[in-house]
Amino acid sequence: MVTEQQVWDALREVEDPEIPVISVVDLGVVRDVRVDDGTVHVEFTPTFLGCPALEVMREQMAAKIEELGAEPEVEVILDDSWSTDRITPEGREKLRRSGFSPPAPREATTPKLVQLQSGAFRCPYCGSTETKLENIFGPTPCRSLRYCESCRQPFEQFKTI
């Protein structure tokens, strides 16, 4: 019979299709894994509700579980239990090394314009905080575009949710 540890290990091989440096486990979107005889139940929390990568991740997780010889049951949890705070420290480091600035910590209230315009965001290339907001939106819903005034490099900043 499959163990929960084997399932977690297998899920570590499922990449985010839009940011392949990071796995679904690094991303923190797997909330729970339960093995019940031959069935593996996974609780999956979406990042952004409109993210097209979610379907791909769900299918790939199910395929990995089938490879282990078990019946997958991936349940999508439609609540606020995922936050960018759930990205693991390893995941944040992988993002930073790939030129994505990791998200700032979540606060009790939702972000305000003044925070996005503040100097709290660090360039993933040179480490400077002399960066400015270029566009709240970017190539995917989870990212914003910023520009580093120090090394003159545009970069992608993970939105905090």
């Binding site: 979406p46 952004f48 409109g50 609540d79 566009n135 709240i136 819903p141």
Partner: protein, 217 residues
Amino acid sequence: MSERAQRLIEYADDELVLGWRDSEWTGIAPFLEEDVAFSSIAQNEVGHARALYELAARDLGTTADELAFDRSPEEYRSSPFVEPRRLDWAETIARHVLYETADELRLEALKASDDEEVAGLAAKMDREEAYHRIHAQMWEERLREEPRFQAALDELWPAVVAVLPEELRPKLAERMNRELPSNTVLLSLERGNHAEEWPALWEEMTEVRRSVPGAAW
């Protein structure tokens, strides 16, 4: 249909239709940043519609796709406010500012709901909508002095009031610093009415689905 399913579908219809209209800016917004912004906002709104339809679909024993695309035009509950095609940028931003302000009130009310599923989903949506509100606020500050923008706000004001349930309308008037329109004005703007463009939009939205009924894509 339960009151809960009805409310979820109304909300989902608003988000689906507005998301569709927002997506029409992809490639033709005044500059590239706004192509990106409106495409992303559209994607979020359609994602919210899907999640809301999914909750309603579980109650009704159907699927989100069936709710989104298999109803007749009269069965949709979208507000006439979200339906018109706005090709003028000032009008688009006015609608964006008004909708996001109203939507924040709707989400606040749902987050405080005793229904844990609805409150949980509203909290999730609100985290994403915060970025739409910031985007709307930036544009509002930029266009505040523009007569075309102000005229669009005046014109659209009565219709956005009708997006919200009655108990939330006074709060919206307070937040926008405007007077509530009379019931006579609101009559033709309430849900159940549709904008002139609605039948054409319905045709377009459901065309692929209707071409091969029941197909799995």
